[in-house]
């Protein structure tokens, strides 16, 4: 029977065995992490639709949730979504994201993604109020799994923006002089609400003469639900000294916290 090995030999042997054990542990844990992450199931809340909400500060809030089923034992840490929304031809329109989240192992989490479109403050705002658009979205997902590996996933997609005043028209009709010396200008205002929120507020209509002098102003309350249409003809009476021919019609919308002037319409 061999005698007990000396201390230095045993120490060296122990270190070699620990070295082998370290390899085994790292390989097994990594393999298990890879196996676990293969069972992760991502999905978006309410399909691919985003909710829209017109905030009192004139900003449209776009929101969705990103659901992640994480059945494995390891956690996702620093889970973060970032969305960059562009407007074709005008560059970056809005930036949104989610809070920095941790999704524990064996759980399912819903991570909210919120994007704020500054309608009043943005140069593209008036256009987006009156025109549907396909907005390019760069979506980034960053996370670390099991403290072992980090991933950055980028997806390019489009967001179908529904304008709340799609195809807004304020079309002046034929000018009709009245017996009392005033001039009647009928103005047909129409639009379709393609947004998912209602258009509630005031539409003001102003007629300017060819020289830019204000001739007449009127306003009306609107309450057009999502998906609805609006069509109404307003009658504006101009004073004797105001010739609308060659002038223009200005329409502005005032809603909760937002006032937007639409592009002028010329009066023939």
């Amino acid at each position: 029977m061999n005698p007990r090995p000396p201390g230095l030999y045993r120490l060296s042997r122990l270190l070699r065995r620990l070295s082998t054990l370290a390899v085994v542990v790292v390989v097994v844990v990594t393999a298990f992490a890879v196996y676990s992450v293969a069972h992760v199931r991502p999905s978006t809340g309410s399909g691919a639709q985003m909710t829209q909400l017109l905030l009192p500060n004139g900003t449209v809030e776009l929101g969705t949730t990103f659901n992640l089923s994480n059945p494995g034992p390891f956690a996702f840490t620093h889970f973060r979504l970032l969305a960059l929304v562009s407007f074709p031809g005008a560059g970056l329109l809005a930036v949104g994201g989610s809070p920095d989240s941790t999704i524990a192992g064996g759980s399912t989490a819903s991570v909210p993604l919120t994007i704020y479109l500054p309608m009043a403050a943005s140069s593209a705002g008036p256009t987006l109020l009156t025109h549907d658009a396909q907005l390019p979205v760069d979506l980034w997902l960053n996370t670390t799994y099991a403290s072992l590996a980090s991933a950055a996933i980028r997806a390019e997609t489009n967001y179908s923006w529904g304008a709340p005043f799609d195809q807004l028209n304020a079309t002046p009709g034929p000018v009709a002089p009245q017996a009392n010396g005033t001039v009647l200008v009928p103005i047909a205002v129409s639009f379709a609400n393609h947004a998912v929120f209602g258009d509630v507020g005031t539409l003001s209509v102003r007629v300017l003469s060819a020289g830019g002098a204000p001739c007449s102003t009127t306003s009306l309350l609107i309450d057009t639900p999502a998906g609805g249409t609006f069509a109404q003809t307003l009658s504006l009476y101009l004073g004797p000294g105001c010739n609308p021919s060659g002038g223009e019609v200005l329409v502005a919308y005032s809603g909760p916290g937002i006032t937007v002037a639409f592009p002028p319409e010329a009066i023939p």
């Binding site: 005698p3 070295s19 997806a155």
Partner: protein, 179 residues
Amino acid sequence: MSGEVVPAGARGEIAPPTLFAPDSPTLSPVARVPGLAHRFAVSVALFVVALVVIAYLPYELLRRLEGTAVSIAVTPFEVLAVGAAMSLLLALRYLAKPTVAYGPMAMLTAAAGIAYLFWLAARATVAVVPGHGVGITVTYGTVLELLAVAPLLSLLAAVVTTIEDLRHPGERLRFDYPA
């Protein structure tokens, strides 16, 4: 020649008696030290196996990934060259096991392993671009840094073996190659 029972350190060309003399009173005076030819044959076999596992297979994998949607920050040639060097060190380490060169050789091999893993860790990024506007980048350097614990422990073991060889030459042969 392999398996022959000889006094520890008796093979001058393998374990010089002046360094590996059985000076410890607790040691048996004999060890079954494989001959140089036997160790050389095993070293060649070890080299070939290591070359396949840590050089050729990664090389082939990376080569097949070239031109696909997957891109890795390490080139196939780099992996092949470093893997071949590591395989050679492993083979030489085995060849030198019964000699005093084993400790320094093992230290060199472990240090090279650590350096290789950290070099890989700095480039441990896989980018996958499957198309349709989707791109995935995975960074896994932490795995390789954790894996470097293994050669670090091997390095410590080699240091201890080197000290043991210097203080008690030939002492370990009886246990590395029991009769």
